[in-house]
Subunit: 153 residues, 2 copies
């Protein structure tokens, strides 16, 4: 049982629609379908009833959802409290980009869904990006001084 499975399950339990959930979760529809089956096997219990081409949360699913909400909620709260007491969130992200400008509105909208507390400071077509102060950038050129770091959400 993994956290990603629980997040996927929680979302799918609410929509009762794998295709829709997959799109909103940014994974492929078969991947989500399989993850749910895997979770059901792990628990030894079916969480959804398959009725024709639709799925419907059943009793077991509803019971489990209740606990999943508690668990995921606690972890989200924990993260928030850590942010609060560590005071490391500036609240503002400085973003520089010279490509993909037409994608930014959707990207920002998506991000604000997940992190409503963050505000952005945007820099488009910065003159000399190597000297610019940004938290991250989107560019087609090779960029200079600081190293890159991989993050997941």
């Amino acid at each position: 049982m993994e956290l990603s499975q629980l997040k996927y399950f929680r979302h799918t339990a609410r929509t009762e629609n794998i295709t829709k959930s997959a799109a909103e979760l940014h994974i492929s529809q078969p991947a989500l379908s399989k993850m749910i089956v895997t979770l059901e096997k792990d628990l030894g219990v079916k969480l959804f009833d398959r009725e024709g081409k639709h799925i419907k949360l059943n009793n077991h699913g509803a019971v489990f959802l209740k606990y999943v909400d508690i668990a995921l909620g606690a972890l989200e709260d924990g993260r928030k409290e850590l942010e609060d007491i560590s005071g490391q969130t500036s609240g503002t992200l400085h973003v520089s980009f010279d490509v993909a400008s037409q994608l930014m509105p959707d990207l920002l909208k998506e991000f604000r869904d997940r992190h409503p507390e963050v505000t952005f400071h945007l820099l488009q077509h910065d003159r000399n990006p190597t000297q610019a102060k940004f938290d991250f950038c989107i560019t087609s050129s090779l960029v200079g001084p600081s190293g890159t770091e991989k993050k997941s959400c």
Copy 2:
């Protein structure tokens, strides 16, 4: 952030000893050390203070542990309730084995730590194992009818 990381963290937070926790969690000591660092990076906060060759849970760690306990507890409760209402747990596992008999005591002890509600029915050196009724077996011979299935805990 993954569930395994949280379980590892919870255990290590209590022992404040990576080597000991690694042994009890059945993973290598470097693996556990790395997982904790990974979790800290994910949260953006150090959870332990490194003092010489010892580690000590710090403020952030204590705060986060509180939420981890809630989350993992909820998931354990959810599993239990699903077992209750589905009524699929027989309460007794039938185990057949013709090798590794000297390992069984420790294995059983280990398992009972995790699942105290389960009782065992042991069959050593079964005459014709292919016909035997067991939930699982440990053997050096190839066994017959039913397929094998992979499970993680």
